[in-house]
């Protein structure tokens, strides 16, 4: 029987590279196991080392898998904690925003309170609960009504950035809410005068989106005295609004030859789009 013709020889010849590698790696592994720990190896430890070699590979692999799975679990916990921390952060940010809003509201209320005490009229502070921000000259709904002593045609004023101005008047009264007609409304007429020159006129809203007022029936004699920026206040002659309440400032003077009086275009003293709190004047203190 020739060895070169046997299947074993053919197998060894074909896979000699892999077999050599396996042999070298096996020998290397054994030497690592025997010399990996310091100290003299006892003969009885050889078998243990062989078993330990197999055990090392298996337990190392299993430990690797276990470590991998525990890492996955840790990662899941980490992810859960991360999302919880994000939620907490969002909640705290919301709280911080609320705090800032409360501080701002507090300042506004303090301003209102100071204004409330300084007024010579008995007044009731109300807050706007409804309005159309896109149309400033439309009516406001306030949170006080008949039960709080509000009556129709009561004047409404407001303080904004330290400036007091006329807002309008009450046109409808409910039990616990009321409707305010602002000065920007084209149907509201207010007896007014120029603060410096004392010329009188009638202020009304332009009724468009420009948020401007018009002062009509101003004597042409005032033409040389009226300046842009002059303050226009209530005259107090119509017995509806108390006198000297600021309404607006002169923006443009219109002197048309075919008219017998001047027309003044005014900028409202208040920014109606930013109003939140109002004061309803109930009478003289």
């Amino acid at each position: 029987m020739k060895l070169s013709g046997s299947p074993l020889f053919f197998y060894v010849k074909r896979f000699r590279r892999g077999l050599i590698l396996a042999a070298l790696l096996f020998v290397s592994s054994l030497t690592i196991l025997f010399t990996g720990t310091p100290g003299v190896q006892q003969p009885q430890q050889i078998g243990l080392s062989l078993i330990g070699f197999v055990d090392g590979i298996i337990s190392g692999t299993l430990r690797g898998v276990g470590s991998w799975s525990s890492s996955l679990a840790s990662l899941a916990d980490l992810n859960k904690n991360y999302h919880k921390a994000l939620a907490d952060l969002e909640r705290y940010q919301g709280t911080e925003r609320q705090l800032v809003q409360l501080q701002e509201e507090n300042e506004r209320l303090r301003e209102q309170l100071g204004f409330h005490n300084a007024l010579t009229y008995t007044n009731l502070t109300v807050s706007i609960i409804a309005k159309d921000p896109s149309r400033a000259y439309s009516s406001f709904i306030i949170d006080k009504g008949y039960l709080e002593g509000i009556r129709k045609d009561m004047p409404v004023i407001a303080v904004q950035d330290g400036v007091v101005g006329l807002v309008g008047k009450i046109i409808e009264v409910g039990l616990s809410s009321s409707v305010v007609q602002p000065t920007l409304d084209a149907n509201l007429y207010i007896a007014a005068r120029l603060e410096n020159t004392r010329f009188e006129g009638l202020v009304t809203g332009k009724g468009n989106n420009e948020s401007r007022l018009m002062m009509s029936y101003v004597s042409k004699a005032a033409f040389n005295d009226v300046k842009v920026g002059d303050l226009v206040v209530t005259s107090g002659t119509d017995s509806l609004y108390p006198g000297e309440l600021p309404i607006g400032r002169v923006r443009k003077v219109l002197n048309k030859e075919y008219q017998t009086s001047l027309e003044l275009e005014l900028d409202p003293i208040l920014e109606f789009g930013k109003l939140e709190y109002l004061s309803v004047l109930k009478g003289v203190k």
């Binding site: 070298l24 290397s28 690592i32 690797g64």
Partner: protein, 170 residues
């Protein structure tokens, strides 16, 4: 057989050099390992069987001069000799690009193999001894030095190898 012998001689000399002079060359936490790079280049030139045999012997020699357990580098060098030797005649090496890439792969193979052996045989070496920024510096050095090694190897073969002459005498 001759190449096998000369490989052992060259690598042995380099081992001495590496363990004396080059062992102190540390750049950015990375030790310059010329021995490993030359060994990989020799495996690629000589094939799988010479590569793993040379690797085993060289590995044992390395183990004898280091504090590692005997067999660790023999295992690593044998495996590398086998795997990189498989690439003999199958990869075209230009002057710079492919040798540089091979240098980087060789360093990476070195790191990963030792890491796995440490894991399998529970050698107790910390993970940060394998994976740190210095590995990138080592890969860079591999990319720089491997083309030079290839150039020297080709130059030495052209000048020192005795090719057989034909009947024409050419």
């Amino acid at each position: 057989m001759r190449s096998f012998f000369w490989s052992l001689v060259v690598l042995g000399a380099l081992l001495v050099l590496q363990s004396t002079l080059l062992g102190g060359v540390i750049i950015l936490q990375a030790k310059l390992n010329i021995l490993w790079l030359v060994f990989i280049a020799i495996c690629l030139q000589n094939g799988s069987i010479p590569g793993q045999l040379v690797g085993f012997i060289l590995g044992l020699a390395v183990d004898s001069v280091t504090a590692s357990p005997v067999g660790l580098h023999a295992f690593e060098f044998s495996l590398a000799g086998y795997l990189f030797g498989l690439g003999r005649g199958k990869i075209f090496f230009d002057a710079i690009l492919m040798p540089a890439l091979l240098g980087m792969i060789a360093v990476l193979f070195d790191v990963l193999t030792l890491f796995l052996l440490n894991f399998i045989f529970r050698l107790g070496l910390p993970v940060q001894s394998f994976f740190y920024w210095g590995v990138l510096a080592q890969m860079t050095m591999g990319a720089i030095f491997m083309p030079a090694i290839f150039w020297i190897y080709r130059w030495s073969r052209e000048h020192f190898s005795h090719s057989r002459r034909g009947f024409s005498g050419s």
